[in-house]
Symmetry: C2
Subunit: 192 residues, 2 copies
């Protein structure tokens, strides 16, 4: 029994290459070479490139959200701090050498039609992240957790873009400071 199944190996390599070099720019020859797998095997597990891309994005969603949640909860204890710790978790992410922006924003750039399955799964990922923030906002006891979640989410998106496009590695810290204003506002509404 291998540490990673053939399928997982393929997805793992595809994840790295798609994230680093883009989807259209990454060919199958490169993937099977780095995964140490034959073309037949790849097509045995995935009917087409689209299917591989989708499987890759699903895996990325799983890994990313698990990571953000774990780090967020490791960095904080109280619900209020947790809302801000999400920004610290992003800050850590931006410092990674392999950081190339948000894979789902990148996917939406290459598959721009809203009907495209890759675009749809990207929108779904963003919804799930926002839902997580909303859950934290609820735990913090704010009056309108949905609005706060949308606000913090928008700040996160802005920070990601600023970090990737402009190379501003501290964007998450600025976003965090901005987020604090809205967290404070939302919490004061609860008291009122």
């Amino acid at each position: 029994m291998p540490a990673l199944s053939k399928r997982d190996m393929i997805v793992s390599v595809a994840l790295k290459l798609f994230y680093r070099n883009g989807f259209n720019a990454t060919g199958f020859e490169r993937i099977i070479k780095e995964a140490g797998v034959s073309k037949k095997t790849l097509y045995n597990h995935f009917r087409s490139k689209d299917e591989l891309v989708l499987a890759t994005l699903r895996k990325r969603d799983e890994l990313f959200r698990n990571n953000i949640m774990r780090e967020t909860e490791r960095l904080s204890s109280a619900p209020r701090e947790r809302l801000l710790a999400i920004f610290d978790a992003h800050h850590q992410w931006f410092q990674e050498k392999e950081f190339s922006g948000c894979m789902f924003i990148n996917a939406s750039a290459e598959f721009s039609s809203h009907d495209d399955p890759c675009h749809m799964i990207s929108a779904e990922h963003k919804r799930l992240v926002r839902d997580y923030i909303c859950g934290q906002a609820e735990q913090a006891g704010v009056k309108d957790p949905d609005t706060l979640a949308k606000q913090l989410n928008l700040l996160l998106e802005g920070a990601i873009v600023d970090a990737h496009v402009s190379g501003n590695k501290d964007s998450a810290l600025m976003a965090k400071a901005m987020a604090d204003v809205f967290v404070e506002k939302a919490l004061s509404q609860r008291i009122a």
Copy 2:
């Protein structure tokens, strides 16, 4: 004398196709066909695809910033309102049928290396937009125009991503409401 020179025609068509379908996904055959131009002519004006992409991005930067500035100034008069009118101008943009996110965020997704000329011109574009905001902030007389410009810029980036990836057409309005908080704060600092 044609309304558009051959070169302008090529750039115009490339702009549309690159924006709509992405850079790597758009081939030369398609561009010359829609531009009604021979391949020789294209290579007469541009040495390579990279050069065409760069020329396209430069044109986009020019058109986009002119448009945002014009609309912003059309929608507002006083400096303070102008800072917020930038969000209204973006809101208009998001409602366009052909809206496919920010072309420079999209370019950074496909050309992820920070050394890549396409990525560098994208970073430059973002810097120029931020500079415009900073200029407006100065005119409004805020104490620290640079900080406010960075904050408003981050909100704009977030709104663009939210509009494109998640299809939230009202993201600019939410961002505007958030921006108002920081504009107010910056202006009160001036008075203090």
